[in-house]
Amino acid sequence: MTTTHAPDEGFTPIRAKAAPRPGTWISAVIVAALALGLIWFLVTNPVLEWGTVTTYLLDVKVVQGVGWTLLLTVLSMILGTVVALTAAIMRRSENPVLRGVSWAYIFVFRGIPVYTQLVFWGLFTVIVPKIVIGVPFGPELLSFSTRDLLTAFWAAVIGLGLNEGAYLAEIIRSGLNSVDRGQTEASKALGMSNGTILRRIIVPQAMRVIVPPLGNETIGMLKTTSLVLAVPFTLDLTFATNGIANKLFTPIPLLIVAALWYLAITSVLMVGQHYLERYFGRGFDARTPARAGGGGGRGGRSRQAAVNSAGTTPQDPLPEVEL
């Protein structure tokens, strides 16, 4: 409903009626009917055994599985990001060896199925039973057995992380390339070193481009952790629900349990992504509030609004949400 403006503003807003769109209405009705039918099917179908679902949703094994799955996701994403940032920076290097190694890493780890890689990391202790630190062809200084170090959990983290790093490297590289060349020039002209430019100027701006696909990858990783039985690591959510299902001979309700948990975690991750995007969008996205301080921390709706308010009005009437 339009609110009429005060008459002293000298105009009456147009009272508009929307144009008829029968095609849209008909398709909306069909889609709604299909959606209702699907919900009806989910609720009433006895095979889904909603009773079993609610019984096992908060089962100790399941909740522990959620914990392990989260831990795997977080650790392998951290490892992947660190590896990817290194690979992306190496890829930008002028040195052909650094560029080549980075390219080869991406080629190999992106090109082999993650399942195969996980099996490989599971067998790593067989392939490399002992790691020796010492002078090449000289005396050994330190040696340890990989079996003690590389438990199934860490093999899973390394396998997932290195695979992920190859994908993230490309995402981070395109993010770094997305930052305007003028930023580097301006930083150079101020006498900044290449490291400082990267750390203070390029990466913070690249994050704006990197975070949305990084969020996607994190959600992808959450689900990829269900493959860790290839290592074999046997405590994650999918393995836990499968174990219960095999015991009860009721696979379907426990698949639903797993699905609900994956959806729940995804929702939480999406909230996190939202806040990250807002943080790294500061200064770009006019909705982000200006930093609190002398300016009083106000934000504008658009760039032009921001400019206008910066020039004239002392306070922006729009309420804002602080991060």
């Binding site: 305007d180 003028g182 930023q183 020039e185 301006a186 150079k188 002209a189 101020l190 006498g191 900044m192 070193s193 290449n194 400082t196 203070r200 100027i201 913070p204 701006q205 704006r208 790294f280 500061r282 200064g283 770009f284 006019a286 200006a290 930093r291 609190a292 301080g293 002398g294 300016g295 921390g297 504008g300 760039r303 921001a306 400019v307 910066a310 020039g311």
Partner: protein, 271 residues
């Protein structure tokens, strides 16, 4: 290092020391010969304005001074120090390039302002100005902030310190960019068409800051199309065309009494 060449035209006075000395600089980009042997001497406190048609090599020459471009031949000295290379050639006649850190140190003494501002969009105006003093000079944050506020005040933006660049007009952004360059206490300032990206009504606020700087005795090289500014502020106007410096002298000599047909044609098109 030869350091004190005789310059016949020296409006500021022979007493003031040479700050920038460009000697026989050529620059090629592939087959493109952009600079064809440029010589330029700028003395302390002098304001040199580079004018010329687009593509004449003005910006490239400017960028050679702070090593955003590497000259293909010739050399650039700032305060008598060769830029980008060791002072003396190696025994085999080659010149030893400086390490990136050393080049960064040389650049940090030269302020530069770009046509398209290139403010850091993720930082507020204040943080833009503080960034280099803190990160490059290692100045404590409190001292850097005090200095940055003072500089923003100086360019008339004391009340915009906490705004992001996207919340500022073009003229305001360019003034923040000038404050950012000044924060490093540069010995000289380079301006690469500082008003070309601005709406006409915002040009004067930026030129005003440039005039104030010139009045304070800053050594400046300005690439611009603003002939009025050149006439008013320049100690020397340098006309470039097709990679060469064709004429150089006071504004009166160059703008009011052009000798070459090229310059006459150029002036006819911009005035």
């Amino acid at each position: 290092m030869s350091q004190n060449p005789e310059t016949p035209e020296n409006p500021v006075g022979a007493a003031s020391p040479v700050v920038i000395q460009v000697e026989g600089v050529h620059k090629t980009f592939g087959d493109l010969h952009v600079l064809k042997g440029c010589d330029l001497t700028v003395r302390s406190g002098e304001v040199a304005v580079l004018v010329g048609p687009s593509g004449s090599g003005k910006s490239t020459l400017l960028r050679c001074i702070n090593q955003l471009e590497e000259p293909t031949a010739g050399r650039v000295l700032v305060d008598g120090v060769v830029q980008g290379y060791r002072a003396e050639p190696l025994p085999d006649g080659r010149w030893q390039k400086l390490r990136p850190v050393e080049i960064a140190a040389q650049r940090s003494r030269i302020g530069m302002v770009f046509q398209r501002f290139h403010l850091f969009p993720h930082l507020t105006a204040l943080a833009n100005v503080m960034e280099a003093p803190v990160q490059v000079r290692g100045l404590p944050r409190a001292a850097a902030e005090a200095k940055a506020r003072e500089l923003l005040e100086r360019v008339g933006l004391g009340d915009r310190a906490d705004h992001y660049p996207s919340e500022l007009s073009g003229g305001q952004q360019q003034r923040v960019a000038i404050a950012r360059a000044l924060a490093m206490d540069p010995e000289l300032m380079l301006f690469d068409e500082p008003t070309s990206a601005l709406d006409p009504e915002l040009v004067s606020e930026v030129l005003g800051v440039l005039k104030d700087l010139a009045a304070d005795g800053m050594t400046m090289v300005v690439v611009t199309h603003e002939m009025g500014f050149a006439r008013e502020v320049a100690d020397r106007v340098v006309f470039m065309d097709e990679g060469r410096i064709l004429e150089s002298g006071t504004a009166e000599q160059v703008i009011d009494h052009p000798r070459s047909e090229r310059l006459k044609g150029f002036l006819a098109s911009v005035l």
